[in-house]
Symmetry: C2
Amino acid sequence: MEIKEDVRTLRDYFEQEDWAGLRDYFEAQRVQDIAALLSELGDSEELVEIFRQLDSEQRPQVFSYLSPADQAGLLEALSNQEARFLLANILPDDLTALLERLPRDTVEQTLKLLSADTVKQVIRLLGYPEESAGRLMTPHFVSVQPDWSMGAALEHIREQSEKGETVNIIFITDAGGRLLDAVKLKRFILAPPAERVETLLTDQVISVPAWEDREEVVRAMQHYDLEAMPVVDNHNVLLGIVTVDDVMDVAQEETTEDFQKMGGVGVLNLSLRDARPSLLYRKRVGWLVLLVFVNIFSGAAIAHFEATIEAVIALVFFLPMLVASAGNAGAQASTLMVRALATGDVTAADWLRLWGKELAVSGALGITMGFAVSMIGLWRAGPEVGIVVALAMLCVVVMGSMLGMLLPIVLARFKLDPATASAPLVTTVADIFGILIYFSIATAILTVPPVPG
Amino acid sequence: MEIKEDVRTLRDYFEQEDWAGLRDYFEAQRVQDIAALLSELGDSEELVEIFRQLDSEQRPQVFSYLSPADQAGLLEALSNQEARFLLANILPDDLTALLERLPRDTVEQTLKLLSADTVKQVIRLLGYPEESAGRLMTPHFVSVQPDWSMGAALEHIREQSEKGETVNIIFITDAGGRLLDAVKLKRFILAPPAERVETLLTDQVISVPAWEDREEVVRAMQHYDLEAMPVVDNHNVLLGIVTVDDVMDVAQEETTEDFQKMGGVGVLNLSLRDARPSLLYRKRVGWLVLLVFVNIFSGAAIAHFEATIEAVIALVFFLPMLVASAGNAGAQASTLMVRALATGDVTAADWLRLWGKELAVSGALGITMGFAVSMIGLWRAGPEVGIVVALAMLCVVVMGSMLGMLLPIVLARFKLDPATASAPLVTTVADIFGILIYFSIATAILTVPPVPG
């Protein structure tokens, strides 16, 4: 609600061409809020004109928080000089992220606007695998050497800090740039100025190689409560750092990917708001059509038991209930499993323990639900059908649960993403087995001519 | 794999009673890793003996990273003196978290071991609503006043820092403790020592009231890239700070809750590893049994159309396929929606725009799938059934998608948790409507005596 009012205020300034008023308005705002406001505008001409009113300090910062689509639009609409200023003033990791997401032709134009040094740096960063620590890191950090005095180190930190570097964590490296330790700024402030830096060294530094998967970086930073994770090459030379704000964004993106996979949707890599219907269609149609064809098997299973169904038509009444229960139990089990694997709560190596636990839980669930459904069966179709549906319910709930639990583990064992064991997939496969189990039990028990109540 | 080897190493030291070796081993380890190792032990006697070998600095830190079950076990097994030392040395926010999660009788024993001041503090923190900023904050922070000189401020920061306070962010408050600004430590280091602190003031400080929901705190810290969020009372007096490592833990917990709700499981509040089968049973049985009873309606719907089914038995063949497609489309739409609402990507106010988009997407999906299924229908049961299943597929996919999209929005509008619109719930409701739509269309079109191919 609030943001809509702010957008109206912005539009008023724009329509009345009250640029001074607009600048005053911006001055009181945080860059993140300005970016959120600009994203609401939609119209790109308006966006460009309003963006131009930002002062030179805010402009690169606001730009970094815009969506890739808005960033590409702005880069095209601004003059080369304006674009060059912008690109020279955004952080290296933001620049890499920008170039990663821009359309190919815009990338080439953009590279022309960068200094030769920056191009070299960007190309090096983009050389690391997608979703790796190298792509995520910023090469700007402050490092000192062990043989320096604390006073000299602090002087160096002060100089770097004036250049805008992050200095909460100071890195200690040897003359060859190899990482020795990561130490909090306050340790330098507290130490006697004449003491040497090496007195601060511990042997507990944590670092990741540049090609490490970014999910691993998130996990390690969370596990060790780190503010900044040093990234090194294979000679342990410090290349850059990943900061905690980047990691929070990554954690959120990775979780959204897991959600989308679990829901049987392809990974959007874009907000639901910005996604065009055609993209959403493409990301959803694959699983849906695939599962339609998988469901031919459930149709075939039903056709196979036509004789049993025609003999006891009451069996159809319980079909949706049994099939849905198998799917629901499976969805529960797979959701718990996928999330536990994602947070590192369990690993594929725990399968034996989890397998036993799931058997106990699903057995108890099956007995409860079998009892509930036997009452309905007894009431609607007499004792024999009651026994059939109760027994079938127990079996399908255990089957669905085991399927939901095992599928993500099997995927994880083969180094595939466990989240591919989506709720729709587990539900559909559980459906087919559910139909087979139900009618097999019915056919076996009801060979005695049934006496419907 | 690795951790299992470490556990074996630990057990070897224990069995050989090689306490000196164990202490050396611990010295080289990070507290988080030691905690992870101890959690693997299981046997509480072993745990207590091994825990006692930690040095007095590591002990409270390792304790903070243990699971609530292990913490309770330790507190009971240790002597009062040992427990008192432990509790006096853990951070106030960790202490609150501990007391929140301990069994009630252990809480009372634990309170007896705390100093009167600490008890007062803990009671105040526990007075804030569950899952609020107040519960999450630590009351330890460093604040300076605007009329101080930078030199005096730095001296004060240095003193506080020696006491172990976090000092990356320094808070500027007036004489009444009211929050004026939050400033990075490096700004104090860079400023001339004689200048007054007030020259650092901006009017852009962000804070949250103590009763604010912790999910809001996470969102704001992520939006503004904050390292520490100041928490204030309703007179704007600074009460404490929430740090970014707490927020990462909260973000992960909240996401796990969303996953569990989406999977139709009650919130575990415990890791899947540690959860006993009886707890898992209780958290899962509710939805499963409820959905069985909801499915009585799908049975009733089938019974209602018995005449149509008996006339064209081939219709049963397509039943699982259509019903599953309705559920799958619904699960996709609700997953996208629940996650977008959770990340703040969309809000309930966007419903109109989203409604139109979902209609377009699901219409296109329905046409594609209707076409696919009409081919199967034509092949298996002739043109008339082909038309029926194609039309039914279009309708059920649109219906399922709209249901999946609207249910989370409606829940959000009524301030309920959108994640309650779980995949199993949406699937089951979509099933019932799917059956009704399918057989209604079949009854309407197939009144002409059907000519199965």
